[in-house]
């Protein structure tokens, strides 16, 4: 994540501060098509994809800010009748972070080149760059691209459905 992105994120409400990096990049990008594509990929790893990040604060510790976190842990420890020692240990423990945050903190890029790591195990880009395109409306092979959002459709009919129901959905 570059500085500009993180700065703009910091200016956002603390509620949404901890959105994942791809989403952050998407939100800060001026290019609608890139935004839509990145947001869509990020959504594939969400646990509660139907619930918007901002609404999810009650459910998802990861999106709470630090004050809420402590409060929630206190509440939890009371509810589950933990001992004082455990409750203290709990508060001392860091709030859960996303894997990508932990990965960033691990500074794997500082490892010597011969050491296997999470990054080195990534499969890498495909050797053939040819991408098949499926109509986002009906699933058939799609030869047309929406000029606004970059999504694909196969026919006028699907284009109309696209414009009516899903164009720029992730960006709106």
């Amino acid at each position: 994540m570059d500085d500009e992105v993180s700065n703009s994120l910091r200016r956002m409400s603390s509620r949404t501060r901890k959105v994942a990096p791809k989403m952050a990049a998407a939100l800060a990008s001026s290019d609608n098509r890139t935004q839509a594509a990145l947001a869509r990929l990020e959504a594939l790893e969400n646990d509660n994809a139907g619930i918007e990040a901002v609404e999810a604060i009650d459910d998802d510790e990861a999106s709470l800010d630090d004050e809420d976190q402590v409060f929630m842990q206190k509440k939890q420890s009371k509810g589950t009748k933990r001992t004082t020692r455990q409750a203290k240990a709990l508060e001392a423990r860091k709030a859960p972070r996303t894997f990508l945050e932990l990965l960033h903190e691990a500074n794997l890029e500082l490892l010597p080149p011969h050491v296997p790591s999470y990054w080195k195990a990534a499969v890498g880009p495909p050797s053939s760059t040819c991408r098949r395109h499926f109509c986002t409306v009906c699933g058939f092979s799609a030869n047309y691209t929406c000029v606004r959002c970059g999504m694909r459709f196969c026919s006028y009919r699907c284009q109309n459905v696209h414009n009516d129901t899903r164009c720029l959905k992730f960006v709106a």
Partner: protein, 449 residues
């Protein structure tokens, strides 16, 4: 130490498989999450899965978690992208598992725990704290999944190549990601492991997205859409052909299936409306030529095929939806992540890259000992399609042999159970006092191969 004092815990991102070392199968398979239905203020523990639905490879019965209505339930998982990021939540889930389901006392037990490859040191430390400080296990051994799968398969066929060559290529397509891992002499060659950042969770979310845009909004229905995926998705052997078939009207469309969502009154689980529709595509012999059809879609040429409006005309109050090409376009992602816009190679190339990182002498043996494991390899025709894609990428004089595990969701656990009952196991563990003396990082070196 009797193997029965060893708790074997395969702590997956989707499912926990847990039981006693030395036994054939885990005592319990339970989702590694808490869930909260809209009607509940509290987060609840999911019930263990019915063992019959986890050990059979195909099932038409809905395999949802419980009798509870999981419609629109929110989910909290301790694992993110395959790694344990929330020790608090994991502790809650384990505490319930140990006391209420397994009925074990950790302070009398050793633990064999699986951990994904390349787990970050900070996560390993949190794990060790959980095991020794929160639960007081007597001792711990941490194993990586591919080596356990290899161990199990080698023991099943002592005369097979995997056992004789002490070598295999484990392809694990799980909940969070997919790994191709060469294993040699029971050690995973971690410098050669390759990973695709796609697994069952992303596939379910992709299916949610497709259905939500085309028929009914199911974006909040994680549990239901898992069931849809498990029962209806399959791997296509010929995508352009199947896309054509998926547009045909009526009975000519061999893929159309209707799924009925729970209504919360008469049924709390979804189900396939006409179970005989599920397997109709099997009548497609893969060599039977399809009657020639237009391959290039013309903007105006839609009379012959289904109109999108027809799909959208589904009565939303009926609480059901049809699937056609979604059934194979979802697992298709594992073979071609680029179609989604991901800049990652597909599974066949992933395997080739893993093999190419190994010593050339191992290449022919690895291609001949490919083992498929993980829940996402359960899609019908998975192995066949993989072979079709892999064969052209492998030198002609090498054999390609792909062996799907019998119960791919249990393979890792079974290998762990085997290891836990071996005479050497005790010596391989780190004891609580060693942990207290040496700390996490130094203890971990013992598990490093």
């Amino acid at each position: 130490m009797s193997p029965h004092n060893v708790v074997v815990l395969d702590n997956g991102g989707g499912l926990i498989k847990a039981g006693h070392g030395g036994e054939c199968d885990p005592l319990v398979v339970v989702p590694n999450c808490l869930y909260r239905p809209p009607s509940s203020k509290k987060w609840l523990y999911p019930n263990p899965l019915n063992p019959t639905t986890t050990t059979t490879t195909t099932t038409v019965e809905p395999s949802s978690v419980t009798e509870v209505d999981l419609t629109s339930a929110a989910v909290r998982r301790p694992m993110d992208r395959g790694y344990m990021i929330n020790p608090e939540l994991q502790r809650e889930i384990w505490a319930h598992l140990f006391s209420s389901i397994l009925h074990i006392n950790p302070s009398n037990s050793s633990l064999l725990l699986t951990e994904p490859l390349f787990t970050l040191p900070s996560i390993q430390q949190s794990m060790d704290e959980l095991v020794f400080e929160d639960f007081n296990f007597k001792s711990l051994y941490v194993a990586d999944p591919p080596s356990l799968v290899h161990l199990y398969e080698a023991s099943r066929r002592p005369d097979g190549l995997v056992s004789r060559a002490q070598c295999s290529l484990v392809v694990d397509c799980g909940f969070s990601f997919t790994h191709a891992s060469p294993v040699f002499q029971n050690f995973t060659l971690n410098y050669a492991v390759k990973r695709i950042d796609l697994g069952g969770k992303a596939l379910t979310n992709y299916l949610k997205e497709l259905v939500s845009f085309r028929a009914v909004n199911v974006m909040e229905e994680t549990f239901i859409m898992d069931d849809v995926k498990e029962n209806l998705c399959f791997v296509s052997l010929d995508v352009p052909r199947d896309l054509q078939i998926a547009r045909k009207p009526g009975r000519e469309n061999l893929f159309r299936c209707t799924y009925v969502l729970p209504d919360g009154v008469t049924h709390t689980k979804g189900f396939v409306k006409y179970p005989d529709q599920v397997h109709r595509y099997h009548s497609l012999a893969d060599d039977a030529p399809l009657a020639p059809t237009e391959t290039k879609e013309d903007m105006n040429n839609t009379e012959m095929t289904e109109k999108p409006e027809d799909r959208r005309r589904v009565d939303l109050t009926k609480n059901e939806f049809d699937l056609t090409n979604e059934r194979f376009l979802v697992p298709e992602m594992i073979f071609h992540p680029a179609d989604l816009g991901m800049n990652e190679a597909g599974l066949a190339e992933c395997i080739v890259r893993a093999v190419n990182c190994c010593h050339p002498q191992l290449h022919p043996v690895l291609y001949e000992s490919i083992i498929l494991t993980g829940g996402s390899t359960l899609f019908p025709q998975f192995a066949k399609r993989l072979e079709m894609e892999l064969r052209p990428l492998v030198p002609d004089d090498y054999h390609v042999k792909i062996t799907p595990q019998q119960d791919p969701m249990l393979g890792v656990w079974r290998g762990g159970s085997l290891l836990a009952s071996s005479p050497d196991f005790k010596a391989m563990c780190v004891t609580k006092s060693e942990y207290e003396e040496l700390g996490s990082a130094r203890c971990r070196k013992r598990f490093f191969h």
